[in-house]
């Protein structure tokens, strides 16, 4: 009996003993234990323990907790307690001051926390894999028209060769990703279709040996080792089959049936391997063209695990031989391609290589950190300004304390503790604000941030934040206030030393204006740039055109081709349909195909973009023909149309000269039939690239339809009906081209909104600081204003006096901000091929905006001070 006696959780009992008032401890502890013993019989040990913990927590209230000062006064706890009390009362007494202070600080801290969370999440990507330090990805670097181009894709035969040739590599895993896949699910007798935007991935069992992705049901080794096998995530298993144990169920993808052999855990948010459905790679038949070392697809990736204790340099130095062995030389006797071994930790930050996620480049991380520091500095400055302004009111208190024997150190403690109260309150407020804001930030920016205050990084960050802000903002005012001479302080004469502090305050305000104006300049430039890009002519028609994706299948190409033709003809015969074209993508699109070609006369290799399109493409999009003739309407490759840029690149000054010449592409010689005027194939942040238009029915992935603007919805319904008779097993979707074109700038638009939000916050903080300064100035100059008014000064002239003062500060801030802001924006704009000029008008505008905001902020207070009756201010002497 005795040995098996249940005991409550010892830590919670210890906690209780720690906080409980000693007078009450014994009997309450007895009550708790008694209650625990009866609960064990009623509810079992587990329930009783929970109950116990809950009771202990519920007992944590003022009446039960022991007094903070304890029993001995050997230390200065009592004094600290008094500082807290006095500080708290001071804050409550001065509500306007406190709310400006806490509000301003909260704004800065909130931004700081959000930015920290973004950067922290960005840095945590794929850092959780146990063997992280030994995992690498093989990526490709190849020669482009100018410099090099980089891709995460590799030739399909590479993984096998890699495993064969490198003995220091433990595991190699190949992944081939298919975005936006249609999955057919057979659940009992029901057949359901799902359009998975996240897509599926073909891979090998070694994937699970390299990465930490637990298999919950089924075996890791047998998951993908045979053809027609699939591994599904828990989440997707529930979605498809309504249960986790989906072993043995079947699904269909791209006309092939797969059997589910294992269920894996869901992927965490911080991974660049977001795979929900993995299919065995061995299923895909190996075509001849897929065995080619020359063709590379972005979606084919190769990861490998280095053997323990082996240096990566050992593998790296063997890469040149590896390249030599498998890649063909071009006509000049050189190999344009080499492979780079990319460590897993850089997967999320290296912008040269793509991912399945939005990445967070290092530059953005740095920018975020800088913005966070700026905003935080600005709000600390606010605090310093307000605290030093407020100090005037505290001088008698300081005098009394000094007379009664306070040391300067004690006074500093006191004021730093007051700052600490403000900082901690604003951090708490900010945490709520962050939680609230995440509801907007996450969907808008496509982030998956969660506020977890108890995570290690967050705790450290918050602690450092509180300490830094307290020290930065509390120490100077505390030092200044505690330096008052007691006699002068008691007589409220502190201005002897005040001029120095006032100068510093002005300097800080200048710094705040500098930050605000940087943000304003940034906002103006980015807004102008956005507008500029959206109004820029892209070189093709966009109105009343819809595009409809056409399902593609890797099997049965002949039947596919005829279906596409029928679809086109059926839709063309519908009323209110003006033109129809089969093509790979609209003129401007985020997906482009790149390839290289040579001219028969020389051995130079050129890179170009390829667009597969039929004969109606140029008419539908109103692409202007400059020379030669239009593209033919054939199903297979015969001759091509190129753009001006390509003609110039290969050395023809006059576009006419290239007509009839041949280019050698994909191993064939193709005659150039026509030259088209340049158009933008990507967003306007990119320059115009050389383009080849050619017929190739297997490459048509999209149907463009030019509609009559009347009754568009009705026409689309007809198109849908036709489409569904051709592709009954797929799901119809469409989009308007002008929407698509606008979507090309989604990233830029989000960035501009982000900058605007930060600018707004920076301005708000700046305004609060300015408000503090104005309050201080009007407080200090009450008498001066009174005397001036008695001597006949008008309200306007006094307001002007204040404005002049502030105007000088703004101008000084502007002189600092303009060149730095200009340089910064020039750097940002370098990313865009088409950009606005940064002219003087931008700076003038930013100056005007700042002045307006500043004078609106201070106008009321300075006017109020100026229109005060001088009798009131002078009588108090």
């Amino acid at each position: 009996m005795k040995e098996s006696k249940p005991v409550p959780p010892s830590w919670s009992l210890r906690f209780f003993r720690w906080y409980c008032h000693p007078d009450y401890q014994e009997d309450i502890e007895g009550d708790l234990l008694e209650r625990f013993e009866t609960k064990v019989e009623e509810k079992g040990l587990r329930g009783a323990k929970w109950r116990f913990i809950k009771d202990v927590l519920m007992l944590f209230r003022p009446a039960i907790i022991k007094q903070v000062d304890g029993f001995n006064n050997l230390n200065s706890y009592g004094m600290f307690k008094s500082y807290f009390k006095i500080g708290w009362r001071n804050l409550l007494r001065n509500k306007a001051y406190t709310s400006i202070n806490i509000g301003g600080l909260s704004l800065g801290v909130t931004c700081c926390i959000v930015l920290f969370m973004i950067v922290d999440l960005g840095r945590s990507f794929d850092m959780y894999h146990e063997k992280m330090d030994r995992i690498y990805r093989v990526v490709t670097k190849s020669k482009a028209n100018e410099g090099y181009s980089f891709t995460q894709g590799i030739p399909r035969p590479l993984p096998d060769a890699f495993k064969e040739d490198f003995s220091s590599v433990e595991e190699v895993a190949f992944t081939s990703y298919r975005r936006g896949s249609l999955i057919t699910v057979f659940n009992h007798d029901e057949v359901k279709k799902y359009q998975e935007e996240e897509g599926v991935v073909f891979s090998e069992p070694s994937f699970f040996r390299i990465f930490d992705r637990k298999v919950l049901i089924g075996s890791t080794e047998k998951g993908l080792d045979d053809s027609n096998e699939a591994v599904i995530s828990q989440k997707l298993a529930l979605k498809y089959f309504g249960k986790v144990d989906a072993i043995g169920e079947t699904i269909e993808y791209d006309g092939v049936i797969y059997k589910i052999t294992a269920v894996m855990e869901d992927f965490p948010t911080n991974t660049d391997l977001p795979f929900d459905l993995m299919l065995s790679y061995i299923t895909i038949p190996k075509d001849f063209e897929q065995q080619d070392w020359g063709s590379i697809s972005d979606s084919d990736n190769c990861y490998f695990l280095l053997k323990d204790g082996v240096s990566i340099a050992l593998v790296e130095q063997l890469i040149p031989d590896f390249v030599q062995k498998y890649n063909e030389e071009n006509a000049n006797g050189e190999i344009g391609t080499t492979y780079i071994l990319q460590p897993l930790r850089t997967l999320h930050t290296d912008m040269r290589f793509g991912n399945y996620n939005a990445k967070l480049p290092l530059a953005a991380q740095i920018a975020f950190v800088v913005i966070a520091i700026f905003l935080l500095a600005s709000s600390c400055i606010n605090f310093v300004n307000l605290a030093t302004a407020e100090a005037v009111r505290r001088t008698p208190e300081v005098g009394v304390r000094k007379v009664l024997g306070s040391s300067r150190r004690q006074l500093i403690y006191q004021f730093v503790i007051e700052a600490l109260i403000v900082v901690i309150s604003s951090v708490f407020l900010s945490l709520f604000a962050v939680q609230f804001m995440l509801g907007y930030i996450n969907p808008y920016m496509n982030f998956s941030l969660t506020l977890n205050v108890l995570s290690k990084n967050m705790l450290i960050f918050l602690f450092l934040l509180i300490v830094t802000v307290t020290v930065l903002s509390g120490l100077y005012p505390a030092w200044m206030i505690s330096g008052f001479k007691p006699i002068l302080a008691l007589r409220k004469l502190t201005n002897r030393r005040g001029s120095n502090a006032f100068g510093l305050r002005k300097g800080l305000i200048v710094f705040q204006f500098f930050i605000s104006q940087l943000f304003i300049i940034g906002t103006i430039v980015i807004t102008l740039q956005m507008e500029f890009m959206q109004n820029q002519e892209m070189g093709f028609a966009q109105e009343a055109i819809i595009t409809v994706p056409i399902p593609s299948s890797e099997s049965n190409k002949a039947e596919n081709a005829s279906r596409k033709r029928t679809l086109k003809n059926e839709i063309l015969s519908l009323p209110r349909v003006e033109r129809v074209s089969l093509n790979f993508s609209p003129p401007s699109s985020n997906t482009v195909i790149g390839s290289s070609f040579t001219m028969p006369i020389s051995t130079d290799e050129y890179k170009t973009q390829i667009k597969q399109a039929d004969g109606d493409y140029m008419d539908l999009y109103q692409l202007k023909l400059i020379a030669g003739e239009q593209l033919l309407d054939r199903d297979s490759l015969t001759n091509v149309v190129v753009n001006e840029k390509l003609a110039h690149m290969v050395g023809f000054e006059n576009s006419h000269e290239i007509i009839g010449k041949e280019i050698s592409l994909w191993g064939r010689n193709l005659a150039v039939r026509g030259v088209v005027k340049d158009f933008n194939t990507q967003s306007l942040s990119k320059v115009i690239e050389p383009v080849v238009l050619l017929n190739d029915i297997n490459g048509y992935k999209s149907l463009s339809v030019k509609l009559n603007p009347t009754n568009i919805q009705e026409t689309i319904r007809h198109i849908k009906k036709q489409w569904e008779t051709q592709y009954p097993e797929f799901i119809f979707s469409f989009s308007f081209l002008d929407d698509q074109v606008r979507d090309l700038y989604k990233g830029e638009r989000k960035m501009s909104v982000l900058v605007r939000v930060f600018a707004f916050i920076a301005i708000c903080i700046g305004c609060l600081g300015l408000l503090g300064l104005i309050l201080f100035m009007t407080n200090q100059k009450t008498k001066e204003i009174g005397v001036r008014k008695v001597l006949g000064a008008s309200v306007e002239s006094i307001v002007f006096l204040f404005s002049k003062e502030i105007g000088k500060l703004i101008l000084l801030g502007f002189v600092l901000a303009a060149p730095i802001g200009g340089l910064m924006m020039q750097k940002v704009l370098r990313e865009f091929a088409y950009k606005v000029e940064i002219g003087p008008s931008i700076f003038v505008l930013s100056l005007i905006v700042t002045c307006l905001i500043a004078f609106v902020t201070m106008g009321y207070w300075s006017f109020k001070a100026a229109s005060e009756n001088p009798v009131n201010s002078l009588r108090s002497e």
Partner: protein, 109 residues
Amino acid sequence: MSKHHLGEFEEIVMLTVAILHDEGYGIAIIEEMESRLGRKVSIGALQTVLRRLENKGYLSSQFGEATKIRGGKRKRFFSITSYGKKILAEVKDQRLELWKAIPEFVLNN
């Protein structure tokens, strides 16, 4: 009118202590309230009120003998002081007066 205000929960606790008559300690009071009123009370809530009432002088308490159960901790038994009895009576009178003041037809419906 009494200047001492007695909260609803305080009143119930005092009444329960009175019912138990010198046998009222933490858990006993909670159990009594649970069985009579069907009301869930946490130790924390009860102890806070008990201390408050003791500070006000309505209740007094002394330790009992240590026993083997409850980890050898002594119980603290509460009893009502004469001042506490006076307050309770006052509260009761107030209530009764209020009841009496209600016109008969209001409650008869």
